[in-house]
């Protein structure tokens, strides 16, 4: 396996042209998958020396721009009124939060992860950049399925844009132990209700989609029937916290 740690995005794009090259962000999922023998990249392109991917900026309109290499711990330290800060606070454990990054989590798109559902409710946009262009993809189009995103080959997640938040937000997660991936998670902000952990990609509930109509997943954490049964209560609790 080759390893390179470029200091600019341009170098990173060149390094990613190799077949089977992958980005290494915080490594908290990718290295675990490598250890388990689930992936064996030919080349790793470490993003940790690229300064432009770091940091949190407050936008003029009151929103946030989170650089892709911003860690969960840095996001958890934001004011807890922010939905994304609430999600980061219950994401895994201190050692994972110190190194895991939002860009890595978003690109991995685990259906039971905390950010995808929170970003969907927050109407966030995922900024992705390639050697040719940068584009912003709304969260509802970015998360396509089980570990599947709208990222094209050669593109890197470079930032997350979260619009200004009016009013209270709440994030609730049901998990086997504190910090584990969700059996069911619910994010609510400005009347939008998003559900995670239940379907291959998080879903926004609305006129066409209600909680009862979801096709629930069966996995090692819980059965579809269990998820169907507990989801209404988790939604009720989350919505109540926003009132």
């Amino acid at each position: 396996m080759d390893y390179i740690a470029p200091t600019t995005l341009e170098e990173a794009f060149r390094a990613l042209e190799t077949e089977d090259a992958r980005c290494l962000a915080g490594g908290q999922s990718l290295v675990a998958m490598m250890n388990l023998g689930l992936v064996a990249p030919a080349k790793l392109v470490s993003l940790r020396r690229i300064a432009s991917l770091r940091g949190i900026e407050k936008a003029k309109d009151g929103g946030l721009r989170l650089g892709a290499m911003t860690t969960h711990a840095e996001i958890a330290a934001l004011d807890e009124g922010w939905l994304i800060a609430q999600a980061a606070r219950v994401l895994a454990y201190p050692a994972i939060r110190a190194f895991g990054t939002i860009g890595g989590s978003v690109a991995n798109a685990d259906p039971s992860a905390d950010y995808p559902v929170a970003l969907l409710a927050a109407a966030a946009e995922i900024e992705v950049t390639s050697a040719r262009e940068a584009r912003k993809i709304p969260a509802r189009e970015f998360f396509k399925g089980l570990f599947e995103t709208a990222l094209a080959s050669g593109e890197i997640v470079t930032a997350i844009h979260i619009p200004a938040q009016c009013g209270k937000a709440a994030y609730e997660k049901l998990s086997l132990v504190v910090g584990d991936f969700a059996i069911v998670s619910v994010a609510v902000v400005e009347g939008r209700i998003a559900v995670g952990g239940c379907t291959p990609a998080p879903v926004l509930l609305g006129a066409e989609k209600d909680a009862a109509g979801l096709e629930f997943m069966n996995d090692q954490r819980a059965s579809a029937a269990y998820r169907r049964k507990v989801l209404p209560e988790i939604i009720r609790r989350t919505v109540k916290r926003c009132s």
Partner: protein, 149 residues
């Protein structure tokens, strides 16, 4: 590969895909334990750049210049305060998870002189003890914190 471990430069032999845990253990620093090897159990916990880290989830090659502290490096001589508190409280059963708990508590007490029970429990949330000795471990940390109030 040169790594800064416990305040000294060490030349550790490691393949490009080796984790920091593998490099440390191959270099004779076997205090960090390989439990689950995918970031769940916390037995391999070290300090990386002053922050609590899973050494099984860091690639040795990606550590670079950042300093590493392992359980072998938590005190210059004898046992550290945290280690003494664990011994005095009897907060050890089989001992496999203990190096990870020592690192988690070491990081906590570096950050907070006298942490409250909730903070202790939160700091230990990423470390598993399969003998289920959490009660004594939390008690040891509370005693250490109490002595500093």
């Amino acid at each position: 590969m040169l790594l800064n471990v416990n305040g000294e430069e060490r030349d550790l032999a490691a393949t490009p895909a080796a984790t920091l845990l593998e490099a440390l253990r191959a270099g004779g620093l076997t205090g960090s334990k390989r439990g689950c090897n995918h970031g769940v159990c916390g037995a391999c916990t070290v300090l990386l750049d002053g922050k609590l880290a899973r050494s099984c989830l860091a690639l040795a090659v990606d550590v670079g210049e950042r300093p590493v502290v392992t359980v072998e490096g938590v005190s210059e001589s004898g046992l550290s305060e945290v280690q003494k508190a664990l011994v005095e409280t009897g907060a050890i059963q089989c001992g496999f998870c203990t190096p990870g708990f020592v690192m988690a508590l070491t990081e906590l007490f570096l950050r907070r002189a006298a942490p409250a029970r909730d903070e202790i429990r939160a700091a230990l949330s990423g470390n598993l003890c399969r003998c289920s000795g959490y009660v004594k471990i939390v008690e040891a940390a509370e005693k250490l914190a109490g002595g500093k109030r």
